[in-house]
Each structure stands twice: as structure tokens, then as C-alpha cells.
């Protein structure tokens, strides 16, 4: 679904974050991306979602469209992609409902999830379902995200990323702010979603997760991506 072909990324001419990375994420795949902080994990994920453009090489969506060219294809691809940002990218001045329901405005065909109209319609139930999945209590529905704790915010961000039942979930350290129990609840959730066919790529620091959840792992080191298909292999 997402293919990176010899992708390099420079933020400025001296600092090369990624060097000729080849990577391919197929339907129903589950990958970990590990690496020290500053290794380029976030950059890699942003390249996959099209938020960043490659300096060299190409990022192909469904094998055809290059993210740097066709905006229509990118838009329809994005509707089928969920992204959990490392810094959440939530609107703190808006309620949980308003944050979580945002992707529903853009809809997506074939999921049974109705696109909400800008001119009316309630999304309360869909949002409550998503909140339940990430273990957010129903009463937080109308709470402003700014009043939530870090862990709660992170779960709001996850709920928002999965509310549209995306084909691909790109999660950048989605458990970074969670306590032990919630971490595993979320990892369980991701595995369940993966079983239902959602492709997942998950960047993390957490060795425990990588060791216990036996999935292929990509190691980023000094901008070079090394693959380890031995599930659960952890080199660090």
C-alpha cells in the first residue's frame, strides 16, 4: 500500500535524516519501527503519510501515485489512513467530541461509516464507540482536551486516528505517555484491529512491546533502515 523507493530526506543540506530507505507496507502488515530518539522515526512516518516530501527517491501509494504529485490520489489515500502524531496534534480548546469526530467530515467509502455533513447530523454514537475502544470514559465526551492528562490526550489522539476504520494506521510512539496498563490495552487494540485487516506501522522506544509482540521490526540507525523479519527480534 505504501512503498518507499530509495528515499532520502534532508531537512537542510548538512543534516541527512534518512539515507536511501526502501520500505514497503502491504495490506494487513504490522511493523515496528525502532531507533534512538532523533534517528528519524517520525520523519519516516511523515514521509509515509505524505506530510513530508522526500528529498530524493519516491513514495508510492498503492504502487502508483507519487505523493509529491497527484493531490487527488493523496487525498483519497489520506481518508483511509489514520495517523497518531507523537505530539498528538489535538485542538486543546475543543472538546473530545470535536477532536475525535474531525476525520468523519472527510468520510470514506465502503466502511459503513457515514460521512458527516457540514450542515448537520450527529456523530455522537460513532465517537462514543471509538472512545470506548481506547478506554476513555463516556463522561469526557464534552470535556475540553486541554483539561485532560497526557495519557488521556494520547488516547483521544488514538481514538481520532481509528474512528474512520482506516486501512493503514501510522502510529508515532502512541504509548509514549501511557501507563503500563493502558499501554498494553492499546497494543491489544492495535493487534485486534490488525487481525481485522488494518495495516499498522508503529514507531516506539519501548523494548518490552517489541519483544513481547512478535512482529517484523525495522531498525533506524543514523538514517539507515535495517530490516529484521525475525519476529520479535530486538537488537537494542
Amino acid at each position: 500500500m505504501i512503498t518507499l523507493k530509495r528515499v532520502s530526506k534532508f531537512y537542510d543540506t548538512n543534516t541527512q535524516v534518512l539515507r536511501a530507505v526502501d520500505f514497503s507496507l502491504g495490506k494487513g502488515d504490522f511493523f515496528f519501527v525502532v531507533g534512538d530518539s532523533g534517528a528519524g522515526k517520525t520523519t519516516l512516518l511523515k514521509l509515509m503519510s505524505g506530510e513530508e516530501k522526500p528529498s530524493k527517491g519516491s513514495v508510492l501509494l498503492n504502487g502508483v501515485a507519487d505523493v509529491s504529485t497527484d493531490s487527488r490520489v493523496i487525498r483519497s489515500f489520506r481518508k483511509r489512513t489514520g495517523f497518531v502524531h507523537q505530539d498528538f496534534k489535538l485542538f486543546l480548546d475543543r472538546t473530545v467530541l470535536e477532536n475525535v469526530s474531525l476525520p468523519l467530515y472527510f468520510g470514506r467509502a465502503g466502511t459503513g461509516i457515514k460521512r458527516i455533513s457540514l450542515f448537520g447530523g450527529s456523530v455522537k454514537k460513532v465517537v462514543l464507540d471509538a472512545m470506548k475502544l481506547v478506554d476513555l470514559p463516556e463522561k469526557m465526551f464534552n470535556t475540553k482536551v486541554g483539561n485532560l492528562s497526557g495519557g488521556e490526550r494520547q488516547r483521544v489522539a488514538i481514538a481520532r486516528a481509528i474512528i474512520n476504520r482506516p486501512d493503514v494506521l501510522i502510529a508515532d510512539e502512541p504509548t509514549g505517555s501511557l501507563d503500563h496498563n493502558h499501554t498494553w490495552a492499546i497494543i491489544d487494540l492495535f493487534q485486534k484491529l490488525n487481525l481485522k485487516g488494518m495495516a499498522i506501522i508503529l514507531a516506539t522506544h519501548d523494548r518490552d512491546i517489541v519483544r513481547k509482540v512478535r512482529k517484523p521490526t525495522a531498525h533506524l540507525e543514523k538514517g539507515v533502515l535495517r530490516f529484521d523479519t525475525r519476529e520479535g527480534a530486538c537488537l537494542f
Binding site: R75, S76, R78, K89, F91, D93, L102, Y105, L118
Partner: protein, 293 residues
């Protein structure tokens, strides 16, 4: 309606810039409307010029006694609203008011030397071409020796006044362009301030039109409130404006300038549309131009 709350929430977030845009929109629209009124009074409605609405017909001394019989003939012509014989006293009064010396000398020789004069008033709706035909018709009536057409005499002045109104029109159009620029700057600022938000929405697959849609709602809000402010200001300031305008219009023989409720309503509609168009064009241009996100 989510769209409305999205737009209003955005406006609330950048409250100062919203207020500034609202009031500058109102100010520009009011200034433009004042120019528009000016232009309309001079040019748009020729009937406002009194000279256009009347001619003086002088009756030959031979037919002076039959002046009364001329009246129905003149009244029967297209567009003639009134035809009255100007009595000598009335004329002398007029002279006394504006040309007292002349009045004095005529008084000495006696008012018999004054020719009989018929004041003909035209219908307001009479077109310029029809009016000319009617004037020609009056000229050919037996007994009328001279038709004094005030409009002919001031036609040179009117031509230059028309240029004045064209100038005012152009200034109005320029003001509208200024409004477009104000709006462009505003929405470019919005884009800059909400860079993260727009980026995120694009990340969900939002199209350009989706991003533009709340801005269009915002444009509607500006247009609505600015034109409401505009109508209120013009309505409560109509007296002052009329005094100012009439220093010019009355001296030149125009009808007194007034803003009635109909004119205020029209101004409101025009201000709303002008404001809306300017903000939509400004927002669209900002989105096309500033590919920040």
C-alpha cells in the same frame, strides 16, 4: 450546524483580527456607498436636476391674451406634468430675491414689458429623448416664440458633472479593490495562524474547498454585519450627509439630496453583496496564493 460552529470558533480564536476585518469592511463599504450615492444623484437619475424637469415658454406679445388657450395644448404633450402661467408679480418676486437691481429697473418702466411666460414641468420618468421631442413640440405650438431650455444652458456643466460622477464611481470601484486586498491579507493571516490546523485537516484528506468553506461562512458573517453597521451609520448620519451633499447639489439646481428608507435598503443590499464578493475573492486568492500548508 458544524460548518457554522467551525467558522465561528475560528473567528473567536482570532478575535482581534476578526474585529479589525469587520470594522474595516464596514468603513470601506460605507465610504463606497457614499460615493455611490453621490454618483447616482448626479448621473444615475437625471431627474434630480431641476433644470431637466422644466422649460420656460415665452408667449409672443400678439398672442399674450391667448396664453390660457396654449396650456391645454402643452399639457397634452408626452411627459408634460404641469403648465402654468407665471404671473408678473411672481416673476418680480423672484427677481427681487435674486436680482434686486433688475427688479428695480423693471418696476420703473412697468411690468407690461415682461413677456408672458409659461412654466412647463415634466414628468420625472420622461426619458431624455422623449423630453427633447416634447420640447420640440412645444416650440412649434402657435404663439410660443421661444422655449428657454435650462437643461441646454447647463448642458456643458452637466457633462462635466457627469465626469465627476464617473470619477466617484471609479473611486468606489477602487475602494472595493482595497476591500479585496484587506480580505486577502486577512485570510492569508488566518492561513498562517492556523497552519497547524490546516495541515492536520489536509492530513485527513480535506480538499481546498473544504478549507475554503468555513472562510465563505466567515465572509457571509462579515458581509452581513458590515452591511448592517453600514445601513445604521448611513441612516443615523443621513441628515449630516444630506447637509454636506446639498451644499453642492442645491447650489447647482439639483433636487435636495435625501436618503429615504428605500435608498438605505438598496445600500444595504449592495453593501452586503459587495462585501461578500470581496471576501470570497480575497479568501480564494489567499488560498491559491499562499501555499503555506
Amino acid at each position: 450546524m458544524p460548518i457554522l460552529s467551525i467558522a465561528l470558533a475560528g473567528m473567536r480564536r482570532r478575535f482581534l483580527s476578526t474585529l479589525f476585518t469587520l470594522f474595516s469592511t464596514a468603513a470601506i463599504l460605507i465610504a463606497g456607498t457614499i460615493l455611490g450615492y453621490w454618483s447616482y444623484w448626479i448621473h444615475g437619475d437625471q431627474a434630480n436636476l431641476k433644470a431637466h424637469r422644466s422649460v420656460a415658454v415665452f408667449v409672443s406679445p400678439k398672442h399674450a391674451n391667448e396664453a390660457d388657450s396654449l396650456l391645454p395644448k402643452i399639457l397634452a404633450m408626452t411627459g408634460v406634468e404641469s403648465a402654468t402661467i407665471v404671473e408678473a408679480e411672481e416673476f418680480m418676486e423672484y427677481l427681487g430675491e435674486y436680482f434686486p437691481d433688475l427688479q428695480g429697473s423693471i418696476d420703473e418702466v412697468g411690468t407690461e414689458i415682461l413677456p408672458t411666460m409659461i412654466q412647463v414641468g415634466f414628468d420625472k420618468s420622461l426619458s431624455l429623448v422623449a423630453r427633447e421631442n416634447t420640447v420640440r413640440g412645444i416650440t412649434s405650438v402657435k404663439g410660443a416664440i421661444r422655449v428657454d431650455d435650462g437643461a441646454k444652458q447647463v448642458s456643458g456643466a452637466i457633462a462635466s458633472l457627469n465626469w465627476l460622477s464617473v470619477g466617484a464611481g471609479i473611486m468606489g470601484a477602487c475602494l472595493w479593490l482595497v476591500l479585496v486586498v484587506v480580505s486577502f491579507t486577512h485570510f492569508q493571516g488566518v492561513q498562517f495562524k492556523e497552519l497547524q490546523e490546516i495541515k492536520l485537516l489536509r492530513g485527513f484528506g480535506a480538499s481546498e474547498s473544504w478549507i475554503l468553506l468555513p472562510w465563505i461562512v466567515e465572509a457571509c458573517v462579515y458581509a452581513t454585519f458590515a452591511s448592517m453597521i453600514g445601513v445604521l451609520v448611513l441612516w443615523f448620519g443621513r441628515g449630516e450627509l444630506a447637509v454636506l451633499f446639498n451644499q453642492f447639489f442645491e447650489t447647482l439646481g439639483y433636487e435636495r439630496f435625501v436618503i429615504n428608507s428605500e435608498a438605505a435598503l438598496w445600500a444595504g443590499v449592495v453593501m452586503f453583496l459587495a462585501g461578500l464578493m470581496a471576501h470570497i475573492i480575497g479568501g480564494f486568492a489567499a488560498l491559491l496564493r499562499g501555499k503555506f500548508a
